[in-house]
C-alpha cells in the first residue's frame, strides 16, 4: 500500500488504464495543460499527447455527444464535465443518447464511457458550481452512478468504470480531492454495485455517500465515546445499488440514518429509504428512518450559510443521538 490523495488515485487510475488500453482517452475542457479545474489530469497530456488528452471548446453537449459517438465505435472515452452543475447542458446526450442507444437499438450497440465530474459544495463557489445532482442519474435506466469516498475506492471504482461496457457517471467530490488514504501498489478493481461497510456497529445504520462518509465516520467516533455504536455503510455505487448490504445492516441495527449532501427532497436518500421500507428490512425497523441531507435551497455563497446548508459532523452526531435516544 502507498498513501495518496483522492485526486492522485483518480489520476493513477486514468493513467494506468490509458497505458493498458489504447482505446481509452480523455476529453473535456482544460483537461490537458491546465490539468482540469482541480488538477486531476495534470501531467497526462505530457505522457499521452493532445490526441488522447483532448481539450475541447466550452461545449458540454458536444463533449458528451463526442464521447457517446466514440463509445459507439468501441473507444472508451473518459469525458470530464468541469463541474457537475454543467451536466445540465449535456443531459440530452447523456440521457437520451448515451443511456438509451443500446436499448433502442435492440441491444445491438454498446456505449462504454465514463463521465467524470466533481460535485458538491464547500468551496465558496455558490449555486452554479456546487450542486450534487446524482439523483437525476440514478433515475435514468442505462446509466450507472458511482460516488467514491476514499482514494482506495476512487481508484478501484474508476478502473472498473472504465472497463465497464456502459455509460458510468463517476462523481468526485471537490473537498475529497486532497484527502489521503492507502492505495494498493498492484492493480485492483472494485466491482460496481458493491457497498462497503466502513465501520461496523450495533446501534444504528448510517448510510452515507461521498463527502458524508468521512463526516459520518468522525461522528461515529464521537458517538462511540457516548456509548452509541454506529455501523457505517457506503453504497459507493448508487446505481446499481447494493441493497443487500444495506438491508443486512438495517436488520441488525433496526435504525437508519441516511446522510447525503444533495438536496433532501428527491435525493438519492429517498430511494434508499424506499428500498428499505419495501423490503423485509421494514419489519426490523424500530424507528422512523431519518434522512440528513442538504437543505432544499441553491448553494449559498456565504461561508456560514454554505456550511449550514449541508450536514456537518455535529449534525450527524445530533441526529444519530436523537434516533437512538
Amino acid at each position: 500500500m502507498k498513501e495518496m490523495t483522492y485526486a492522485e488515485a483518480v489520476r493513477e487510475a486514468l493513467r494506468e488504464e490509458m497505458i493498458r488500453d489504447d482505446s481509452v482517452f480523455l476529453i473535456g475542457e482544460d483537461v490537458g495543460t491546465y490539468g482540469g479545474a482541480f488538477g486531476v489530469s495534470y501531467g497526462l497530456v505530457d505522457e499521452f499527447g493532445e490526441d488522447r488528452v483532448r481539450d475541447t471548446p466550452i461545449s458540454e453537449a458536444g463533449i458528451m455527444g463526442a464521447a457517446t459517438g466514440a463509445a459507439l465505435m468501441g473507444m472508451r472515452p473518459v469525458a470530464e464535465i468541469m463541474f457537475m452543475d454543467f451536466t445540465t447542458i449535456a443531459m440530452d446526450q447523456l440521457v437520451n443518447q448515451a443511456a438509451k442507444l443500446r436499448f433502442m437499438f435492440g441491444g445491438k450497440a454498446k456505449v462504454p464511457l465514463v463521465l467524470r465530474t466533481p460535485g458538491g459544495s464547500g468551496t465558496g463557489a455558490a449555486a452554479h458550481h456546487s450542486q450534487s445532482l446524482e439523483a437525476w442519474f440514478v433515475h435514468v435506466p442505462g446509466l450507472k452512478v458511482v460516488m467514491p469516498s476514499t482514494p482506495y475506492d476512487a481508484k478501484g471504482l474508476l478502473v472498473a468504470s472504465i472497463r465497464d461496457d456502459n455509460p458510468v457517471i463517476f462523481v468526485e467530490h471537490k473537498l475529497l480531492y486532497k484527502t489521503k488514504g492507502p492505495v494498493p501498489e498492484e492493480e485492483y478493481t472494485i466491482p460496481l454495485g458493491t457497498a462497503d461497510v466502513k465501520r461496523t456497529g450495533r446501534d444504528l445504520t448510517i448510510v452515507a455517500t461521498s463527502i458524508m462518509v468521512p463526516r459520518v465516520l468522525a461522528a461515529a467516533e464521537t458517538l462511540a465515546g457516548q456509548g452509541i455504536d454506529a455501523e457505517v455503510v457506503d453504497p459507493r455505487t448508487l446505481k446499481p445499488l447494493d441493497e443487500e448490504t444495506i438491508f443486512k445492516s438495517v436488520i441488525k441495527t433496526g435504525r437508519v440514518l441516511i446522510a447525503h449532501e444533495a438536496c433532501k427532497t428527491g435525493g438519492a436518500g429517498a430511494e434508499i429509504a424506499a428500498r428499505i421500507v419495501e423490503s423485509d428490512a421494514f419489519n426490523y425497523l424500530d424507528a422512523p428512518i431519518v434522512r440528513l441531507a442538504g437543505l432544499d435551497i441553491p448553494v449559498p455563497y456565504n461561508r456560514n450559510l454554505e456550511r449550514r446548508m449541508v450536514p456537518q459532523v455535529e449534525d450527524i452526531v445530533a441526529a444519530a443521538r436523537e434516533l437512538v435516544g
Binding site: M104, K108, A109
Partner: protein
C-alpha cells in the same frame, strides 16, 4: 457528367425502394398495422440516395427521425426494417425502437434519432474515433433545417471543424421544421452559409437532383477522406407528406405542395436517364416493380415474424 449506367440504375432502384417502402408503411399505418408515428421522406429521396451513394460500404452514417431513406440507401435489409415497424422481434431493434430508432450497426448505420439534432454531436465522436484510429473511413451525419437551430449543431460543427474530422454533414432543408418555415426560423438564405462561421466548407445544392447531390457529396466525401476536414452540404428539397401522423398541414398551401410535386426527384431522374439513353422506359418500370416486390415480401416477412417475448423486456438496457 458522363452518367455511369450501373450507378444510375442502383440509385434509381433505391429511390423506388424508398418511395414504395414509405407509401407502404403509410398504408399500413392507415390500416392500423403500424402504430405510433412516423416521418415520411417522400419527395426527398434524391437527397438521401445522392449523398449516401457517395460513401463506401465501410463508411458510417447517422440519421434522423426522417431516416427511412438514409437507412435504405445505406443498404439496410428491408425485411428487418419492416419487421421493426411492426414491432417484431426480428426487427432491427427487436421491436424496441420503431421507425424513429432504426439502426443497422453492421451496415454502419449508427441509427436514426428521435431528438432533433441529437445525432449531430454523435458524428463528432464517430469522426474522432475514425481519425484517432487512422482509418480512411468517414462518417456522414444527416439532419434537417430545423435541427440547424439546435445548440448541438453549433457545438458539433465547430468541434468537427477545429479537429479537421472526417465528417460530412448533410442538412436536408425541406423548408419546414414541423410547421416552422425556414423563412421564419432563419434570417439567412442558405443554411450552408453557417459553415463559414466554423471555418468549414459549405455547399448548397438542388436536393431534388440526385446527380447534383451525388457530385457535391462525392467532393465532400473526398475532402473528409483525404484529411481536408468536414463539409456542410445543404440539400434543398421538400417533403410531400405531413410532418408526422399528427399534422393537419395548416401552415402551407396545396399549391406549394403541388409545385414541388412537379419536381418529383424520382421522375426527374428517370426522365433524365431516359433522355440520355442510359436506360429504357421498360427497364425503369422493371426497377419500380422489383422495388414493389421487395417491399411486399418485407411486409410478409414482418407479418409472419414473432412478437418480442414480454419476459425479455428487461434485456438490452445494460451490456
Amino acid at each position: 457528367m458522363k452518367l455511369k449506367r450501373e450507378l444510375c440504375v442502383r440509385m434509381l432502384s433505391k429511390m423506388y425502394e424508398i418511395r414504395i417502402f414509405e407509401e407502404t408503411v403509410d398504408d399500413l399505418f392507415a390500416r392500423g398495422l403500424v402504430h405510433g408515428t412516423m416521418h415520411l421522406s417522400i419527395g426527398q429521396e434524391a437527397s438521401a440516395v445522392g449523398s449516401v451513394f457517395a460513401l463506401r460500404d465501410e463508411d458510417y452514417i447517422l440519421s434522423t427521425h426522417r431516416g427511412h431513406g438514409h437507412c435504405i440507401a445505406k443498404g439496410a435489409d428491408i425485411n428487418l426494417m419492416m419487421a421493426e415497424f411492426l414491432g417484431k422481434e426480428t426487427g432491427y431493434c427487436r421491436g424496441r425502437g420503431g421507425s424513429m430508432h432504426i439502426a443497422d450497426i453492421e451496415g454502419r448505420n449508427l441509427g436514426a434519432n428521435g431528438v432533433v439534432g441529437g445525432g449531430i454531436p454523435l458524428a463528432v465522436g464517430v469522426g474522432l474515433s475514425l481519425k484517432m484510429r487512422q482509418t480512411d473511413e468517414i462518417v456522414m451525419g444527416f439532419f434537417g433545417d430545423g435541427a440547424a437551430n439546435q445548440g448541438a449543431f453549433h457545438e458539433a460543427l465547430n468541434m468537427a471543424a477545429i479537429w479537421t474530422l472526417p465528417v460530412v454533414y448533410v442538412c436536408e432543408n425541406n423548408q419546414y421544421g414541423m410547421s416552422m418555415s425556414t423563412n421564419r426560423a432563419f434570417k439567412i438564405e442558405r443554411i450552408a452559409q453557417r459553415a463559414d462561421g466554423y471555418g468549414m466548407v459549405g455547399v448548397t445544392v438542388d436536393g431534388n437532383d440526385v446527380l447534383e447531390v451525388y457530385e457535391a457529396a462525392a467532393k465532400a466525401v473526398d475532402r473528409a477522406r483525404s484529411g481536408g476536414g468536414p463539409t456542410l452540404l445543404e440539400c434543398v428539397t421538400y417533403r410531400w407528406k405531413g410532418h408526422s401522423k399528427s399534422d393537419q398541414e395548416r401552415y402551407r398551401t396545396k399549391d406549394e405542395i403541388e409545385a414541388w410535386k412537379r419536381r418529383d426527384p424520382i421522375k426527374l431522374f428517370r426522365e433524365r436517364l431516359l433522355t440520355e439513353g442510359v436506360i429504357t422506359d421498360q427497364e425503369a418500370a422493371g426497377f419500380e416493380e422489383q422495388a414493389s416486390r421487395t417491399i411486399a415480401e418485407a411486409v410478409e416477412f414482418a407479418k409472419s415474424s414473432a412478437e418480442p417475448d414480454p419476459d425479455t423486456i428487461l434485456e438490452g438496457v445494460y451490456a
